[in-house]
């Protein structure tokens, strides 16, 4: 088992913490993991991305040029990373703010309207765990049980009261994800 994943979007969308939850879930499942962020000015509101690798073998390079899966959360990231999904790979994106939709035919493409759903539920902070749920639905690389453990490990203790809401958001995300049908 080996998954090379990039999550890309704006700083503040919870891109890095989504990656951390997933990586910690991998640790809980006894996999090898790596989590490699873009860092620097990106942390302060610009684009942010994180490469997560999960494998049952030791991970050689923690960075890659192309990915098994890309989770894309803004237009800039779509422009940059659509072409870097491996043939046969997966691209997941939130349609919010996307004006140019993906065109690749050799990969599986899914949409998840998590921004809208989180806003509808009045808690935009659950956005990233919804996305994570959607991802796990199509790429069940770790068990839900270990994801919940990873969630607990990733969140600081003071945020543990939001664990149930986040677990619920993962489940909602699993329902929310749709296969992309070009218009």
């Amino acid at each position: 088992m080996k998954e090379e994943l990039i999550i890309a979007g704006f700083g503040g969308q919870g891109v890095l913490s989504m990656g951390k939850i997933l990586a910690y879930s991998g640790v809980m499942q006894d996999y090898e993991v790596s989590w490699m962020p873009s860092y620097g000015p990106e942390m302060r509101g610009g684009t942010a991305n994180v490469t997560v690798m999960i494998s049952d073998q030791p991970i050689s390079s923690p960075i890659s040029h192309d990915y098994d899966t890309a989770i894309i959360l803004n237009q800039q990231s779509m422009d940059k990373f659509e072409e870097r999904v491996k043939p046969g790979g997966v691209l997941i994106y939130d349609t919010n703010g996307i004006v140019r939709h993906p065109v690749r035919k050799d990969i599986s493409i899914y949409t998840i309207d998590a921004t809208a759903e989180a806003a509808r539920r009045g808690n935009s902070r659950l956005f990233n765990t919804m996305i994570l749920g959607g991802y796990l639905k199509v790429r069940p690389v770790v068990s839900l049980e270990n994801v919940f453990k990873g969630l607990e490990k990733s969140l600081p203790e003071r945020a543990h009261k939001s664990l149930p809401a986040n677990q619920e958001a993962v489940r909602i995300g699993m329902e929310l994800i749709r296969e992309y049908v070009p218009e």
């Binding site: 951390k20 910690y24 640790v27 989590w35 860092y39 050689s60 990733s154």
Partner: protein
């Protein structure tokens, strides 16, 4: 207590400091290593092990605080990134001259000057050959994983005290910022004052109780005596070279071509040799773990069957000089690397390997 955690390379240095019985950390914020002091301040080790943590006013002050702490026989350390390490050059020279133990972590970034905050390996010359003025060497360890960031803090202190010499952990923004699984297994208490007085009482400033007074200095007015001091230092470096070389080889036994890479580049190149082997090229890798002492003999031995070496580093070509010095001029040695904060991908390195080595030797 053994714990498995997902942590950043930088964060784990803080954990390792506390768990390795470090007495004092003195540092100044600079990207991409600021998590080290942030994590320490969050941990508040002064309430548990009694470890002192000080945010100094500059890197200059940090390294001189390290000098003071080390002079009193304590396990002390600092960390910084490239421009800050340059500011520490003078202090490192004094530490080496006064033969004091300490650990200095350089989470390096692109240069020269203020440069970038992204990963780089362009401080190799500085770390291994010219960390400051005068004839001295640091012992330089190059971790390539978060686990090694943890382990090398322990090893660093051990080497520093064994040889009474500063040890540098030379890493980069990639390893510092990356999170991986880490087993926090080793743990030891801080040394007691009695232990220090007993074991290091012949040089450490513990108060001259029951002994003649100690002086920690790198000053010598008589050049003849200074030359003798230099002889002593050189003898120490010779012992370090004889005993402390560390490296790792991967698929080198049958290799026609060998990549030499350390730190984050060795991780990227581990993927490159997988790619090359899939295509039927016999490619191996030698990873120096100690950059000083450099694994010269191991590289020389590979010459018997290896046709070409590619040094891969995030610099315009620094370690490659040591590779050339090791294997000589009668075998092909080339360099490849992105720099300035750019990180080469495995496929970029693989292309370079084919172009600069494999195709040339066909």
């Amino acid at each position: 207590m053994e714990e498995v955690k997902l942590m950043k390379g930088n964060e784990v240095v803080a954990e390792a400091a506390v768990r390795s019985g470090c007495d004092g950390y003195f540092g100044y914020p600079i990207t991409p290593q600021t998590e080290i002091i942030e994590t320490l301040m969050e941990m508040r080790p002064w309430e548990t092990t009694g470890m002192v943590v000080v945010q100094a006013e500059s890197e200059t002050a940090s390294i001189n605080m390290v000098y003071g702490g080390a002079a009193s026989g304590k396990r002390v350390m600092t960390s910084s990134s490239s421009p800050g390490i340059s500011l520490m050059a003078e202090g490192l020279s004094y530490l080496a001259g006064a033969e004091l133990p300490c650990v200095v972590v350089n989470v390096s970034r692109g240069g020269p000057g203020l440069g970038t905050i992204q990963p780089s390996q362009s401080d190799y010359f500085q770390a291994t050959k010219a960390a400051g003025h005068g004839d001295f060497h640091l012992i330089v360890l190059a971790p390539n994983s978060v686990q090694e960031m943890y382990d090398f803090v322990f090893d660093g202190f051990d080497l520093a005290f064994k040889y009474r010499n500063p040890v540098m952990i030379l890493t980069d923004g990639l390893i510092g910022q990356m999170m991986e699984k880490v087993v926090l297994n080793r743990q030891r208490p801080r040394m007691t004052d009695e232990y220090i007085a007993e074991h290091y009482g012949d040089w450490a400033l513990t108060g001259k109780k029951g002994r003649k007074y100690n002086i920690v200095t790198s000053l010598e007015l008589d050049p003849q005596v200074q030359e003798e001091r230099n002889h002593r230092l050189q003898a120490k470096y010779a012992a370090v070279k004889a005993n402390e070389v560390r490296y790792e080889t991967r698929l080198c036994d049958d290799a026609d071509y060998v990549i030499v890479a350390y730190g984050c580049s060795s991780r990227i190149c581990a993927k490159v040799i997988e790619m090359a082997r899939e295509d039927g090229y016999k490619v191996g890798m030698l990873r120096p773990i100690t950059l000083y002492p450099f694994p010269t003999e191991a590289l020389k031995a590979l010459k018997s069957h290896v046709k070409g070496f590619l040094a891969v580093e995030l610099s315009t070509g620094q370690m490659v000089e040591d590779v050339r010095l090791s294997v000589g001029s009668d075998v092909l040695v080339e360099h490849y690397g992105r720099y300035g904060g750019m990180v080469h991908s495995p496929s970029e390195v693989y292309d370079a390997l084919k172009e600069k080595i494999i195709n040339k030797l066909k």
